[in-house]
């Protein structure tokens, strides 16, 4: 068990407050466009505002979900596997954030 209770608590809530409006924006965008074809989706994502908000939504989600899964790991996983799973959790979260950010950057510029 890592002694990071307070900082995790604050990081979880701070990111959740920022994620709520981003989730609302995402849902609104999906409602507006539905299942878009390539051209429509590309036109939408090439606008810097959409690319930026999309990348931010993904990056903050990665930050938030890493802490959440870490809590689940600490609750259910035996000591021998904890370190390895925590490392995989970090790698997966960083990969998601980088993929989203890099794709958004390529799309917008």
């Amino acid at each position: 068990m890592s002694a990071k209770g307070t900082s995790s608590f604050i990081a979880m809530r701070a990111s959740s407050v920022l994620l709520l409006p981003l989730a609302a924006w995402f849902v609104w965008s999906v409602a507006k466009h539905g299942l878009a074809d390539y051209e429509t989706a590309r036109d939408w994502a090439a606008r810097p505002r959409n690319a930026g908000l999309g990348a931010l939504f993904i990056a903050l989600s990665a930050f938030h979900m890493r802490i959440g899964l870490q809590e689940v790991i600490e609750d259910y996983v035996h000591d021998g596997f904890k370190g390895g799973l925590a490392a995989l959790n970090w790698i997966a979260a960083i990969a998601v954030a980088i993929a989203g950010g890099f794709a958004a950057w390529r799309l917008a510029f």
């Binding site: 409602a31 390539y38 989706a41 993904i58 989600s61 979900m65 899964l69 689940v72 000591d79």
Partner: protein, 134 residues
């Protein structure tokens, strides 16, 4: 952590899931964690969608076709409902963090509210897609 030899077996276990009578508040608590895990996959899916879009139509179109298939739509509906549920129940958690809404009656009412609103939200988001699809 080292365990004293032979000590673990004799201790009584706490009652497990099937012992408890299910309550809406308990279900909401479990579903908050379950939808959180689902959204982990959802975030990866969204990042993959962006990446496919950036790479080009050769990667994007087959992925989009799969997501528009019945199986893909089930995944997307699960993603959408999870996002609605986790966001709304997260709002409930933030309200609790302010020290309010913790009376059993209030917590019960807000759990029903979150179930209903998340289902309505996901259904409303999907209705136009399903009408366009069939």
């Amino acid at each position: 952590m080292a365990k004293p030899i032979g000590a673990a077996a004799d201790r009584p276990l706490s009652p497990h899931l099937q012992i408890w009578r299910w309550t809406p508040t308990m279900a909401a608590s479990i579903l908050h964690r379950a939808t959180g895990l689902a959204l982990y996959a959802g975030a990866a899916l969204l990042a993959g969608w962006f990446a496919a879009l950036a790479i080009g139509p050769k990667v994007f179109s087959p992925a989009a076709d799969f997501l528009a298939s019945p199986f893909g739509l089930v995944i997307l509906f699960g993603f959408a409902w999870s996002l609605f549920f986790h966001s709304l129940n997260g709002l409930r958690h933030l309200y609790w963090d302010s020290g309010r809404g913790l009376r059993p009656k209030t917590a019960l009412m807000t759990s029903w509210l979150v179930f209903a609103a998340s289902l309505i939200g996901a259904a409303a988001l999907f209705a136009p897609i399903l009408i366009g699809w069939s």
